[in-house]
Amino acid sequence: MNEQILRINDLAVHFYMDTRIVPAVDGVSFSVSRGETLGLVGESGCGKSVTALSIMRLLPSPPARIVRGEIWFKGENLLDKTNEEMRKIRGNDISMIFQEPMTSLNPVFTVGYQISEVIMQHQNVSKKEALERAIEMLRMVKIPLPEKRIKQYPHQLSGGMRQRVMIAMALACNPELLIADEPTTALDVTIEAQILELINELKERFGSSVIMITHDLGVVAEIADKVAVMYSGRILEQADVHSIFNNPKHPYTQGLLETIPDIDLPRGQRLKEIKGVVPLPDEIKVGCRFKSRCEYVRAECMVDEPPLMQVGSSLVRCWNYA
């Protein structure tokens, strides 16, 4: 359980745009142990997906470039791998589920082909065996009539079904790490619950580790063992899931938790929000990244950025705990 499967050290990814350089991810470190689920939380544009795509080495380059850091996976730095070595890892050892089930499957190939293809790519099996495995995978992700479904095309399936197919495809080679990038954002709430339950169940069965990227703390509560809260390319707080929900330290984490609507809220009362928007990573020159939206802002926040500090069992990047 304690064996670290993934360890990211000081990862920095810059986007080289025409007129400026945007540091989308700026010194992010975290680790995932075998069988563990890490929730990577934050608002849109905070660098969650860029972090995930860096692990897969799937960032479009140009404009993106990994300028600093290490990504250790099972004792090897993925950033030192050749493209060919990396290709063999993708889909086999590490696989990924994306946000948009409607557009993430290829419209001109059958579901069965798209699943069996990944099996044939990484394992030495015949077409027939791969197709049988594909049926088995569809059954595992609880798609009814899998023998019929493998002959169908993505447009004949609903959004929830397509995301199940994506999961089947991602898990087809029994990967040790599954990265799920907002897998339920585009789905109905009822389907969302089913998909999360499915990911949890399959994770147990295969013993995979999961990185769950989301902006929804409800999803995190459902699935994560530990949580990293990202903001503007940095991790602001990192702790186990109980500490995050029961004893949030960083003002941003507290703010996020307060924005969860309460069903007992009196009618007509405004929902809570964190005022302002996430600043672009290149807009902050000095001080804490959250200072412009923070209720507890202090003098030092304006000048210096706080380091990640150990507070109890949590890591927090805030001067209020110094």
């Binding site: 290709r87 889909g91 290829n106 419209p107 001109v108 190939f109 447009h155 004949q156 495809m169």
Partner: protein, 306 residues
């Protein structure tokens, strides 16, 4: 799928009807009196009238059209005034020649356009891309007949690799086919490139990469199959254009194709032949479009099943 094909073919009927109506009208309303041409200048009104009645020319327009359609359906396109042979026979001789050159040109188009378009898209904004795209720009700008003359000058006259003109062996077909192929390849390669660039941005291409597939599988299978969908539509239109549009090339290379037959007949005022070849050419354009539609449905399951 079968239902789709049947539907396409049924939809062809009104198009062909309108097409034949237009062709028929052109010759019906064209100046000149066929009766006086048959009868000669010194004819009595009685003889004139009997000839008119014999050929059914006294009937109203719609009756004449229906009789014309009846014989077209029976495969009778009339008799050539000049050669006094059935038009259908003359077309049967000429059409295969045009088709040979057209299809060979079409093949050359594909063999050049797809790799060039894909490579230009994958290597976007590099020297390779610029080279491909300036080549295609040149190709779209040069008229087919002029390209034909250039090819003839260098490869037939100077290098003597191919015969200058005529028809008979496969070597006679190469230069005109290349003239057609290169011009069409230019426009098609540009289409393939822009279509590929669009597809390469799609989520499913990223998914394919995330599966650890070989890059060539990602490009040539996952991306290209999607990118070809709009290209097929264009190619359907071009196929018709190739068959109907090789007139200038057939004249330059002295190839006895249907385009040449039509031009010769127009000059000789051999109206039945002109009319017949027009019907055959327009039908083949319509047919090419239907083929493209069917191919379209084969590639894109979303069309097949809706």
């Amino acid at each position: 799928m079968l239902k789709y094909i049947v539907k396409r073919i049924v939809l062809m009927i009104p198009v062909v009807t309108v097409m034949t109506l237009i062709v028929f009208s052109i010759f019906y309303f064209a100046p000149g009196d066929p009766v006086s041409r048959i009868a000669g200048p010194n004819v009595t009104p009685e003889v004139y009238e009997s000839i008119r009645r014999k050929y059914g020319l006294d009937q109203p327009f719609i009756i004449q059209y229906l009789r014309f359609m009846k014989s077209v359906i029976e495969g009778d396109l009339g008799v050539s005034i000049l050669q006094e042979r059935p038009v259908i026979e003359m077309i049967k001789e000429r059409l295969p020649v045009t088709l040979e050159i057209g299809l060979l040109g079409f093949l050359i188009t594909f063999l050049i356009a797809i790799p060039a378009g894909v490579i230009a898209a994958v290597k976007k904004n590099t020297m390779v891309d610029y080279l491909c795209m300036s080549g295609t720009l040149l190709g779209t700008a040069i008229p087919t007949f002029w390209l034909g003359m250039l090819l003839m000058y260098f490869f037939a006259y100077k290098l003597r690799w191919f015969p200058i003109s005529g028809y008979g062996t496969i070597r006679h077909l190469i230069l005109p086919s290349f003239a057609i192929g290169l011009t069409n390849a230019a426009i098609t390669a540009r289409m393939v490139r822009s279509s590929m660039l669009e597809v390469l941005k799609q989520d499913y291409v990223r998914t394919a990469r995330s599966k650890g597939l070989l890059e060539k599988v990602v490009i040539y299978r996952h991306a290209l199959k999607n990118a070809l969908i709009p290209v097929i539509t264009l190619m359907g239109l071009r196929l018709g254009w190739i068959i109907g549009g090789s007139v200038a090339l057939e004249i330059i290379f002295s190839i006895p194709g249907i385009g040449r037959l039509m031009v010769d007949s127009i000059l000789a005022r051999d109206y039945p032949v002109v009319q017949g070849s027009m019907i055959v050419l327009t039908s083949s354009i319509i047919l090419a479009n239907i083929l493209a539609d069917i191919l379209y449905a084969i590639v894109d399951p979303r069309i097949r099943y809706s």
